[in-house]
């Protein structure tokens, strides 16, 4: 039936891997190319690069990085962070990305999703939704989680699917970097609301929690960062555990 994907996420700023807690307090973790090689070797199913730096210089360095990684690593690469126009999408694809991840810009201009899907195919358009819990629901946020748009995150996911998005990368802002587990209700709600793959992100601290994301949250893939970067876990360990529990993974 297809394998559950394990996807390392590299947040990059000025060409270096960084990671913070709840999108704040970025700490440097190292050279993205070395991380990419290591994860590919460990069996990563895809790689995501998010440019978290807001400067033109940081964007340029991300494009160079994509060039480098894509010339030697042949698994799907997704690029995101600050992509806000058709031209931005084209430039990351030309640099070697296979998919682009849109967040704030899609909320501001939903037609960008439609145009992207038309020009490059649905499989190319990943919608990154930063969701913050508000009472019983979740709101889609922008600007690294700082601005609440007031838009219901699940409705937004459905809308993006209608506009032609191929995948949803669902980040729980409340759980990001906490390692206390995914927001399973959020993951399941999104997974049931759309018929495109949902990637769970934000909060996984153990392999058991990742499995929960797949079984209870019904996610098609899990996104991992801190745990892998800090060497607390390897992709192989995650996959071995999944296999043991009867979840199909690529080996």
């Amino acid at each position: 039936m297809g394998c559950v994907r394990i996807i390392p996420c590299l947040d990059v700023n000025n060409g270096r891997v960084v990671k913070g807690v709840a999108f704040e307090d970025l700490k440097e973790k190292g050279d993205p190319l070395l991380f990419a090689r290591k994860y590919e070797e460990q069996g990563a199913d895809e790689l995501v690069f998010l440019d978290v730096g807001a400067t033109v210089e940081s964007r340029k360095m991300t494009l160079n990085l994509l060039e480098e990684v894509s010339s030697e690593i042949f698994i799907p690469l997704t690029a995101g962070g600050g992509i806000s126009s058709d031209e931005d999408m084209r430039s990351v694809l030309r640099a070697g990305a296979d998919k682009v991840s849109l967040c704030s810009a899609a909320l501001k201009d939903p037609e960008l999703v439609r145009r992207g899907a038309r020009a490059f195919g649905s499989q190319c358009i990943v919608i990154s939704i930063d969701a913050r819990r508000v009472g019983e629901k979740w709101h889609a946020c922008t600007h690294g989680g700082k601005k609440d748009t007031g838009i219901d995150a699940i409705d937004w996911g459905k809308r993006c699917r209608e506009l032609g998005a191929g995948e949803i990368l669902l980040n729980s802002i409340d759980r990001d970097g906490t390692q206390i587990g995914y927001d399973l209700e959020l993951t399941r709600a999104m997974s049931q609301a759309v018929d495109i793959p949902v990637i769970a992100s934000g909060g996984a601290g153990t392999v058991e929690q990742m499995l929960d994301g797949v079984i209870q949250g019904q996610a098609d893939a899990v996104l991992l960062a801190s745990l892998l970067h800090d060497g607390k876990l390897t992709i192989k360990e995650v996959k071995d555990y999944f296999k043991e529990k009867g979840v199909d993974v690529r080996c």
Binding site: G2, C3, S70, F74, P76, L93, F120, G121, Q123, I196
Partner: protein, 200 residues
């Protein structure tokens, strides 16, 4: 020299990079006059069957491609590029494929609307799959439709809901539903085999 057909359907960079990595030179081809400059053709493609078929037609590439295929010259169709070797697709009522083989592409029905991700490929002993470890036959797929598993020339199948054609070969004309350029080591081995077998 490998000619990658550029007809406005999808991302050609990944394919080029993989060929380059394996020491193959490639050029993008958008006119049939350029067919004679290359030894092998790759037809990539994402998006809808009908639209892609239409684009090939208006670019004047359909007839020259059919001639290339009928002469049995080295060819590799990737994803939609494999589906186009059939007659038509359930995806669109209009749009005629290259009709190298009889068959209509059918919807693949699994957990999601499209089949996206890694999956097992079951193959016989075709030389294109040489040196790929039998227990680790995973390839990367992104598609909503595929040729039926019993289509002529099919030598590898995969399963998402039902079985579908994952790879086919008639002489030197090949098609793969997966993306070898994005399938890690297995994909590179596959492309390396393709390169070696027909000296492209």
């Amino acid at each position: 020299m490998v000619g990658i057909i550029d007809y406005g359907a999808g991302n050609l960079y990944s394919v080029r990079k993989a060929l380059h990595y394996l020491g193959m030179t490639s050029t993008l081809i958008s006119r049939s006059e350029d067919f004679e400059k290359v030894r092998a053709l790759i037809l990539p493609g994402v998006g809808a069957f009908g639209e892609a078929a239409h684009r090939l037609e208006i670019a004047g590439l359909k007839k020259p491609l059919q001639k290339w295929l009928s002469e049995g010259r080295p060819f590799l169709g990737i994803c939609l590029g494999m589906q186009l070797l059939g007659d038509s697709s359930e995806e669109t009522i209009t749009g005629q494929g290259l009709s190298l083989v009889r068959g209509q592409c059918r919807k693949v029905c699994g957990k999601r609307r499209i089949h996206m991700g890694w999956n097992r490929v079951d193959y016989g002993d075709d030389p294109l799959f040489q040196n790929i470890p039998a227990q680790k036959t995973f390839f990367y797929f992104v598609h909503g439709y595929a040729l039926p598993a019993d289509t002529e020339g099919v030598m590898a199948v995969s399963k998402y809901g039902d079985s579908f054609a994952a790879a086919m070969r008639i002489g030197k004309v090949c098609g793969v539903q997966f993306h070898p350029e994005k399938s890690g080591k297995n994909g590179l081995t596959f492309l390396e085999n393709w390169k070696r077998l027909w000296d492209v």
